[in-house]
Symmetry: C2
Subunit: 282 residues, 2 copies
DNA sequence: CCGTCGTTGGAACATTTATTCCATTTCGTA
DNA sequence: TACGAAATGGAATAAATGTTCCAACGACGG
């Protein structure tokens, strides 16, 4: 008779096979710490080289983790798969969905002719994609969180961005408006500033890229002098704003020719806006 | 004795193995047209499914091309590889370089916590990337070329875009200015339109997405009535503008939540602007 | 100190996949 | 139409890769 029912145990309990990379990662976390030595090595290696699984053989994964192939097999089974092949299929499917015919099409567009408009699209798409990847790779989460806190505490958010940065600033103004966050867009209409609207308790979000625009720098300095916190959205050297900004969010935007795609900047700005709105509501 | 030296022939001449996807494509073009039927089928299929090679087996490629596996093998050898395995290695390497740790990092950011700002960044980056891929995949080159011609012939380009589309319009205004193309941004400042500035010989570029903004539709209709060509930058159904626009450039922008990343729209707009400027100069 | 049980490594086996080979068909040319 | 060269399809073979199994090991409790 079943005198004692064993506590459900992640290792022994039969689990259904992860169907998405997401659930795979969850299970990986769940298992972490309660695995024997060799299997833990597998888990560690797999966790840090998730994408390489799709293209590796058992032997390669095993070598990477510093274990014999059979250990990798056991690991796959503990993760809920019938074996390595089944686990690999998951990652291959994810990979092929990620790049369907995109790369081919891009190459075709580029090859279509150097002067062709479609070749330009290919270049800008490529630049944008690289920028976004760089953003995801290099994002400093701590700085981002700081920026969110500062802006969420502000009574009113002031937005500064001219010339190349103006589209970003104006989009932020639109988004903040939709989200019910009080925001002022410092456009240059009528040659007037909105300096007098900067009040204690407010904060400034300054968006500028090299070559930094005079107006933005001046406004940032002005805000700083009045004791208002300044968050900067800028490119890595960040030379112009290092003195005046409390928090510097830097984005590397890959240019094509003299123009930048703004993709990464907008993605970051949008995230910032939504996060700020969410924080204010709680 | 070697009585006659045969003309160098792409098929029989021994070629060294392509080392990059680029050279692979070149060789593919070189061979095009001078291949026997089955091999041509292979070439066609491979050309349009370049990326799928990395993850397919010989049998799968063969089935895709509608030929027996042995034909695929011959094709690989004609392309300069020792066999399918060697050819596949090329694409696998390209694929693993393309997604270095990006996917892992993205997943980490997402996993960092649903409410975390960094998770938002991951979502927006993902949305933007998908949008750009969709743009590259679905771009209609003919329509784009038409749009370029129309705008290049215009004396002045009028830009209409409000609310969500305003950042795009304003960025275009900036870019056109830099490129020396006469352009008017129809912002709504002071509640005035710039209708009277629409003159014969001009063209309108209307940017709007569902739900289409009244002002943009009205301006497009107005321009149409005066006989000016209208180019629309909009989303696929394009319902609102189908009557009034001469040329419709459609972009699918993946949203996250209620907000769109604008990445694809901006990439397309930028390409359009640069192509127009280039065409005007010649 | 001994026995047990979970863990480990490697060798044997099974399966999938690539590659070669050759009989047959097709195509171009005389 | 007949000939030879090229192309083709499929079956046979080779290679690689995945999977299983078992003997050996080591940690732990009695």
């Amino acid at each position: 008779m079943e005198a004692e029912i064993p506590m459900p145990d992640a290792l022994t309990e039969p689990r259904d096979t992860p169907r998405t990379v997401e659930t795979f990662r969850e299970r990986l976390l769940e298992l972490n710490g309660q695995l024997p030595r060799r299997l833990q090595q597998c888990a560690d290696h797999v966790a840090t080289h998730l994408d390489s699984i799709a293209l590796s053989t058992v032997a390669q994964v095993a070598q990477g983790a510093g274990v014999p192939p059979s250990a990798v097999m056991r690991f796959c089974q503990i993760m809920g798969f019938s074996g390595f092949a089944e686990m690999q299929r998951l990652f291959r499917e994810a990979l092929s969905r990620a790049a369907p015919d995109y790369a081919t099409r891009l190459a075709n567009l580029k090859a279509g002719g150097a002067g062709q408009p479609s070749a330009l699209v290919a270049e800008f798409v490529e630049a944008g994609r690289q920028s976004m990847e760089a953003l995801a790779r290099d994002l400093n989460e701590t700085t981002l969180n700081q920026a969110v806190v500062i802006l969420a505490q502000a009574r009113t958010v002031h937005l500064a961005g001219f010339r190349r940065s103006f589209p970003v600033a104006s989009y932020l103004a639109y988004v903040f408006d939709k989200l019910g966050v009080p925001a002022v867009l410092h456009d240059g209409v009528a040659g007037l500033g909105h300096r007098s609207s900067l009040r204690p308790g407010d904060a400034l979000l300054a968006i500028t890229f090299a070559p930094y625009s005079e107006e933005t720098l001046a406004l940032a300095a002005f805000a700083r002098d009045r004791g208002l916190p300044v968050v900067a959205l800028t490119d890595p050297p960040a030379s112009g704003l290092s003195g005046v900004a409390d928090t510097i969010l830097s984005v590397t935007e890959i240019d094509f020719g003299a123009f930048r795609s703004l993709s990464a900047v907008i993605a970051l700005a949008l995230s910032l806006a939504v996060a700020v709105a969410a924080r204010r509501e709680t």
